[in-house]
């Protein structure tokens, strides 16, 4: 089963976005799990119309109700395996997290659970960012920033009511914080064009937490070349994650191996079991042989020299501007 994690700060428009996509989009057949930090659930009322909905209230799933989330997901796995075939089969779960959740920690608890790791593949992490309050949240809340850093896809919500200047600045800031993520806009849940970020000045919000305070987060993209040896890269990556796991927030990449292309993903020190990708890159998907690292205290040049020292040649750093063009673009925006 694929699990899509939908995160985003409190009130950033997660439910609105989800509701729209449940009715119109690809998520129509998904089972929806809603987590709310408050004891009295409200979000499920917004989501009536979804035929399959489970609610997990009374705490945030990345910390206090984590055991309940694991139990609920195990239940869903049991139903799927042991059902009598009368209920429609579930292939996709969408987890709407509470606004206080760190999607990275949820991924962590799924890939380390010894039942769930066999049943659930964490697919996309989608994070909504409020066009009105996003910048303020980034300034004040370390959490808002962590959510954005872990996203595969950022959805800027409330685009229709935001000032153009603010919106541009937000988009430029998001591009700096997470250059690897696809970026799209939304108004009342419907996909909306985003203005060009050109002309928007990126803000560098201060990091609130003690660790890494004031050290800028950068992204480095590395072209792995065509003749990469995966065992050698695995040696290098595992050492890097062990030594620098607190600084390297996110790694994404696709690598050619004897079994085909595999998709690599890590959030901080947790590496997901690599996923085999369809052999031929989909049109517009240029990720083949590309590794993106997001974090602090390293430069692309250091990474390339280090790879060479580990016996991995034929690699090159990709310039910052080119990197975001090469990473996954929004492939489908359904209406």
């Amino acid at each position: 089963m694929r699990l899509t994690i939908l995160g985003g700060f409190l009130g950033s428009g997660k439910s609105t976005w989800l509701r729209h996509h449940l009715h119109h989009g690809l998520l129509r057949d998904a089972l929806v799990v809603v987590n709310e930090a408050a004891d009295a659930p409200v979000d499920d009322a917004l989501l009536v119309g979804s035929t399959r909905l489970r609610v997990l209230a009374g705490g945030c799933a990345c910390c206090e109700t984590r055991p309940a989330l694991v139990a609920l997901l195990r239940d869903i796995c049991d139903d799927r395996v042991g059902g009598d075939g009368s209920a429609p089969r579930i292939d996709h779960i969408v987890l709407e997290t509470s606004g206080l959740a760190d999607p990275g920690r949820i991924t962590d608890c799924i890939v380390t659970d010894r039942v769930l790791q066999h049943h659930i593949v964490v697919g996309e992490i989608i994070v909504t960012v409020d066009a009105l309050h996003g910048l303020g949240q980034l300034r004040d809340e370390d959490l808002g920033r962590r959510q954005i850093e872990t996203a595969d896809r950022l959805v800027v919500t409330k685009v229709d009511v935001a000032q153009l200047e603010r919106l541009r600045r937000l988009i430029a800031t998001l591009r700096v914080l997470n250059p690897g993520a696809a970026l799209s806009g939304s108004a009342m849940g419907s996909p909306t064009e985003l203005p060009d970020a050109l002309g928007g000045d990126a803000e560098t919000p201060p990091v609130v937490g003690a660790y890494g305070a004031g050290v800028p987060i950068r992204a480095a993209a590395i072209d792995l070349g065509k003749t990469l040896d995966w065992p050698a890269l695995a040696v290098w990556l595992s050492a890097l994650i062990h030594a620098r796991g607190d600084d390297i927030l996110r790694i994404k990449g696709s690598v050619r191996t004897p079994r085909g292309r595999i998709l690599l993903q890590s959030v901080r020190k947790v590496v997901q079991s690599p996923e085999i990708l369809p052999d031929e890159p989909v049109a517009g998907d240029n990720r083949d042989g590309l590794l993106v690292l997001i974090g602090r205290r390293f430069t692309a040049g250091e990474l390339v020299r280090s790879l060479n020292a580990f016996g991995i040649g034929g690699v090159a750093a990709i310039e910052a501007g080119a990197a975001s063009a090469n990473v996954r673009r929004p492939s489908h925006e359904d209406g």
Binding site: R114, H242, T257, V271
Partner: protein, 100 residues
């Protein structure tokens, strides 16, 4: 699933993904040992993997030996022996001057 305790076995380590056949697996392991040797040598450690069994053996010059199953365990064991992690971004690997 483990026949003795009934728990599902741990999934293969992520670094072992991508091997299509037993041949790929052995080839990958030998290649891994070849890459590891000079890296660990710069910290006074040796690694031995003959392609049989499930893991490899890490040793230092005084003859202290540890058996490890995965690369993650290897880096943890190396850190315990040398007192700091083997850091690919250490100047000896990532510095401007070409490494010998």
């Amino acid at each position: 699933m483990c026949a003795n305790c009934g728990f599902p076995a741990a999934q293969g380590h992520w670094t072992d993904a991508g091997a299509g056949s037993a041949f790929d697996r052995i080839r990958g392991r030998l290649q891994r040992a070849r890459i590891l040797a000079p890296v660990l040598a710069s910290y006074g450690l040796t690694v031995h993997d003959d392609g049989s069994g499930s893991g490899f053996i890490l040793a230092n010059r005084t003859g202290h030996q540890v058996m490890v199953n995965t690369l993650s365990e290897l880096w943890e064991a190396a850190e315990r022996i040398i007192g700091r992690p083997v850091d690919p971004l250490d100047p000896r690997f990532a510095g401007e001057a070409p490494t010998p």
